[in-house]
Symmetry: C2
Subunit: 159 residues, 2 copies
DNA sequence: GCAAACTGTACTAAATTGGTACTGTATTTG
DNA sequence: CAAATACAGTACCAATTTAGTACAGTTTGC
């Protein structure tokens, strides 16, 4: 379906929510309540995020989770890596070799690897800090440093 | 899984194969043999491609399929559009509204729509003609016109 | 020691995907 | 016009993946 899984979607939601109060411990229960998700589901996502070093956890009463780095340094690609199947790859053959029976004689694998790289860069280029519009100034112009020219065309041989 | 379906993968394979002899009618049977895929599977893909105007079909003896435009004018995005669920969208909410129960109060939908646009541009930037390396000159340097600078970062407000 | 909160595994139902079968229709060839 | 070829459309089933939950355990704070 060319879609991220719901758990990954929840992951972006949860991390974005945590980014609203960075450096502050929040429990899974609080996050579940704030986002309207089930506690078990939120816990599952947080556990995966923790395994990949995106959040730190504290057990016990008044425990909870904490972003391990500033929201500016967490990208969508980081969350995808934590929650989607690894390694990243839009096709079977571009994720890892040896699995596709057509691989011998397949002439387009190299192209798919190139396409993957571009898509991944797009996901890496968006940080959690950029996900929510500023609370009040939603109509303010964006900083020039964030503007880009778009992806353009792919080079035949990745540079 | 953030992966295109196998049928979409087959679609790129089939169209690339047809691009090797453009403007020539090829039957589903011939394509299935050439690619090592099942006839029924190839037919299913070709039917979907036909519905979206990417290939033309001729019935009867000596019938078959034909690319509707030159390979340079067919992009990976065209094939994805024909074979994946429409409309294009990495998340439920960015594909179409009204389906996600969290949509009210969700602050990151706009960002996902922006991310989608970038990913889609990446897929649109690759034509079928670019998928296969030139048969003999695989090591030749690529034409400068095909080189790009990469996707860079996303603009906060799509421009 | 009790309660809050994370850890880890396992399980089930639903959705999606992949592949195929079957019947029908159009076109060409002889 | 009859037969063979090839596309058209629908429907189905097995396998895989996803989503959500349950449950037993462990750590920490009061």
């Amino acid at each position: 379906m060319l879609r991220i899984s719901k758990l990954t979607d929840y992951g972006t939601l949860i991390v974005t929510q945590m980014a609203a109060t960075p450096a502050q411990v929040v429990s899974a229960t609080e996050l579940a309540d704030a986002l309207g998700l089930g506690l078990a589901t939120v816990s599952k996502v947080l556990k995966a995020l923790g395994r990949h070093g995106l959040v730190l956890s504290h057990r016990g009463t008044r425990g909870g989770y904490l972003l391990s780095r500033p929201p500016e340094q967490i990208s969508i690609a980081d969350i995808v890596d934590a929650l989607e199947e690894q390694p990243f790859g839009l096709t079977e053959c571009s994720a890892g070799s040896g699995t596709c029976s057509l691989e011998t004689g397949c002439r387009i694998r190299g192209s798919w690897i190139r396409i993957n790289a571009v898509v991944r860069e797009a996901l890496q280029g968006v940080s959690i800090a950029e996900m929510t519009p500023p609370p009040d100034l939603s109509n303010a112009p964006s900083p020039a440093s964030q503007r880009v020219s778009g992806p353009g065309r792919l080079a035949r041989n990745a540079g």
